[in-house]
């Protein structure tokens, strides 16, 4: 046998090549699981066995290239019902991490947060507040922030008092084939760039999919957000967000809401049963001191969407009066009209468009409602994110 073969065989057999540590359910789960996450070597897998893990504190991972893998989102349950400290259930602060096949339940703050964690994969994970929608539930279910290259695939989030799947201040994002229900916001992309939200089921939230750019944050949204091929259905859960949070202002029955973000495509989605509107395009209405901030949405394209029933229970201020004036319901597409032509709102959707022609920050009582159609325009070229192949492989 040639010498280099022997070496290769040795390397393949060495524990460092594919080290796996398994943590089973049972007493002292907190310290055993946390110890495994601290002692994990780069390149290794921490397997979490089936069963319920009753945890008293937030867990955290700060080692690069670690896979945390359970036995399935209904089999491996990390329960934070008895949590006494920390702001989230699981916190990841390292790069190239894969989280898959487990559930986080009833965390006191956010469910799973990853901060400054590049090339992270969330696959087949469930985050849920099991008592249903309540303002005392944690804010975000899945919460990557200040990161680049994020893949969220086949994830389920239920009951978040802010956003089920929230991606903030990040770039190159794919949220796909996931389910968000009974959250205030189903999926939210905030102050981020190059995000694809595709093939998701977003139902029974207050608002389905939110695309926001907000002032006074360290990172401004870079725009380029594509909301494609999603089913945004029956978002009818009354808003249960604690006041003070921006999502507390989202009207119940909102399908897709674009606020102040640039280069947004809302294309080929199925939208129905959204009592305020299937699609809303709005400026940021609150006062702000951030001089570099642009409160208008710009370059928004609404095309090839299938519209079902909408606008039958408008929940924004003045909505009921507006609906009455318009014959009982509001049109499926809503634009505050703020910013006028500079917004460049175009598309092929034939569904009626309600425009309020509001000046920036003006009250709804100053609205000059107008029902029409979207301006046909040259569609902007859509983009497709190409995430590193190792991320796609990890999500198989």
């Amino acid at each position: 046998m040639p010498r280099h073969w022997t070496l290769a065989a040795l390397i393949a057999a060495s524990p460092a090549a594919a080290q796996t540590v398994t943590v089973e359910a049972g007493p002292d789960a907190q310290e055993r699981l946390q110890a495994a996450l601290i002692e994990a070597k780069p390149g290794s897998t921490v397997r979490i066995g089936p069963g319920r893990f009753e945890l008293t504190d937030g867990l955290s991972l700060d080692v690069n290239r670690v896979t945390v893998r359970g036995a399935g989102p209904d089999k491996t349950v990390l329960s934070f019902k008895g949590q006494l400290g920390a702001g989230e259930g699981l916190l990841v602060t390292s790069d190239d991490v894969v989280l898959r096949d487990f559930a986080v339940e009833d965390s006191k703050g956010d469910g799973i947060k990853s901060k400054g964690a590049d090339r992270i994969v969330y696959k087949n994970v469930r985050v849920e507040w099991t008592r249903g929608p309540k303002p005392t539930n944690g804010a975000y279910g899945v919460y990557p922030v200040e990161s680049s290259d994020i893949l969220i695939d086949g994830v389920t989030v239920k009951g978040a008092s802010d956003a089920g799947i929230y991606v903030g201040q990040s770039e190159r994002i794919v949220v796909r084939n996931s389910t968000a229900m009974f959250n205030v916001a189903g999926i939210e992309i905030e102050n981020s760039g190059y995000a694809e939200v595709t093939g998701n089921l977003v139902t029974h939230n207050t608002g389905g999919i939110l695309v926001f750019d907000l002032p006074a944050l360290p990172r401004r949204g870079a725009g380029h957000v594509a909301v494609r091929h999603n089913r945004v259905i029956d978002n009818d859960t009354p808003n249960f967000a604690p006041a003070g949070n921006i999502v507390a202002t989202v009207p119940t029955g909102t399908g897709v809401l674009v606020m102040a973000e640039n280069d947004v495509d809302v294309v080929a989605n199925e939208l129905s049963g959204n009592g305020t509107a299937n699609i809303m395009i709005v400026a940021y209405r609150q006062p702000f001191e951030d001089k570099a901030y642009d409160p208008y949405p710009r370059h928004v394209q609404i095309s090839d969407n299938k519209h079902g029933r909408a606008g039958f229970a408008p929940a924004m201020p003045g909505g009921a009066e507006l609906a009455k004036a318009l014959g009982g319901t509001l049109p499926p597409i809503f634009w505050d009209g703020t910013g006028g032509d500079q917004v460049k709102l175009i598309g092929t959707d034939k569904a009626p468009l309600l425009t309020l022609n509001l000046a920036l920050g003006a009250g709804i009582d100053t609205a000059r409602p107008q029902v029409g159609k979207l301006t046909q325009g040259v569609p902007t070229a859509s983009f497709v994110n190409r995430l590193p192949s190792a991320m796609e492989a990890a999500a198989q």
Binding site: I38, D62, G85, D110, E146, P242, G244, N245, I246
Partner: protein, 339 residues
């Protein structure tokens, strides 16, 4: 017999002459020593008799940690000095260590619970938590942290029973991180500049220089100091290790370092970003003149995980600290944009 006699002779010599010496290899090596005694920071660990070049210090305004007492020590190896900085934490040479023991008085005597170490290795800082044994004669490495039931009497005379959280190794870093690398927090000129502490470090050959104009923070509970200065010192030491642009709360946009001047970054009429139920139904971090409309107060006065700030190491409300922040916010003119 001869060997034993020799050992006794050495022991006697140590008692009589040179103070004990720190085990430098334990600080600089790659291993994670299992026992606090392995480092030999103290000639007598239980009695906290420091070894050579291990110097006790305290902070003019400290982080609140559930009313725990803290005994802090700094070690800089022989032949090396910390580099003075007027702003940032002192640059400590490899081989240095920061030792911080947390405990509560029991029957009139300080009973240690845990000792946190920051070790300056060649590759950077390493943070390790050690938990004291029942005998109180040594502490053992507990990388995954733990919880310990503690009963104590707070300064107002109230008996408190809490589940005291010893942080895990990652949680050490949650607070002690700047741009992802572990960094000391309190070892700054402005926090050490009182009671001759800096002079003592200089005299011991542990600090390279000491300018006459070294800055100094206000003491948070010094009733004679301006309330603004006290409040800002309190905010910095309790919050700014996360709430700065390179810290764990960088995405919040709420930045509370002492040098920060932009009112919105400091929270004045700043809306929350990811507060969730931590907002308490309030609109702004600080609503000038209205502490009860300020999220900052709501989160300081809560002990609920997910609401309470800081997120780690606080199971009790710091009544006196909250009262200070309340008075500060009350003192702000309701119409003011600045300060």
């Amino acid at each position: 017999m001869k060997a034993l006699l020799g050992a006794v002779a050495l022991f006697v010599a140590a008692l009589a002459g040179r103070p004990a010496e720190v085990n430098d290899a334990a600080i600089t090596g790659d291993a994670l020593p299992a026992k606090l005694s392995d480092y030999r920071f103290f000639a007598d660990l239980a009695g906290e008799t420091p070894a050579a070049r291990v110097i006790p210090y305290d902070l003019e305004t400290p982080l609140f940690s559930d009313y725990a007492g803290k005994h802090r020590f700094l070690y800089v190896p022989e032949g090396h000095e910390a580099r003075y900085d007027a702003e940032a934490a002192f640059d400590l040479p490899p081989g240095s260590a920061i030792i911080k023991t947390f405990g509560y008085p029991q029957a009139g005597k300080f009973r240690p619970i845990e000792t946190r170490l920051l070790l300056r290795r060649a590759s950077g800082w390493v943070a390790l938590p050690y938990v004291w044994n029942a005998e109180g004669n040594d502490a053992l490495l507990r990388r995954a942290g733990t919880r310990i039931p503690v009963t104590f009497t707070d300064p107002s005379g109230v008996t408190r029973r809490i589940s005291y959280a010893v942080p895990n190794q990652n949680q050490c870093k949650d607070c002690h991180a700047l741009s992802g690398a572990i960094a000391p927090i309190g070892v700054k000129a402005r926090y050490l500049n009182h009671g001759g502490q800096l002079e003592k470090l200089l005299a011991a050959g542990m600090l390279d220089r000491l300018p006459a104009d070294a800055p100094r923070v206000a003491r948070w509970d010094d009733a004679r100091a301006p309330i603004e200065a006290r409040a800002r010192a309190y905010l910095e030491i309790n919050c700014a290790h996360c709430h700065n642009p390179a810290g764990a709360a960088s995405n919040s946009g709420l930045f509370l370092e002492l040098g920060r001047t932009d009112p919105v970054a400091l929270g004045v009429r700043k809306r929350p970003v990811a507060a969730g139920r931590g907002s308490g139904g309030r609109d702004f971090a600080i609503q000038p003149g209205e502490p009860d409309a300020s999220i900052l107060l709501y989160r300081m006065e809560s002990t609920e995980p997910g609401v309470a700030m800081p997120e780690l190491g606080r199971a009790t409300v710091h009544k006196e600290g909250a009262a200070l922040m309340r008075a500060w916010i009350e003192s702000m003119p309701k119409t003011a944009q600045a300060r």
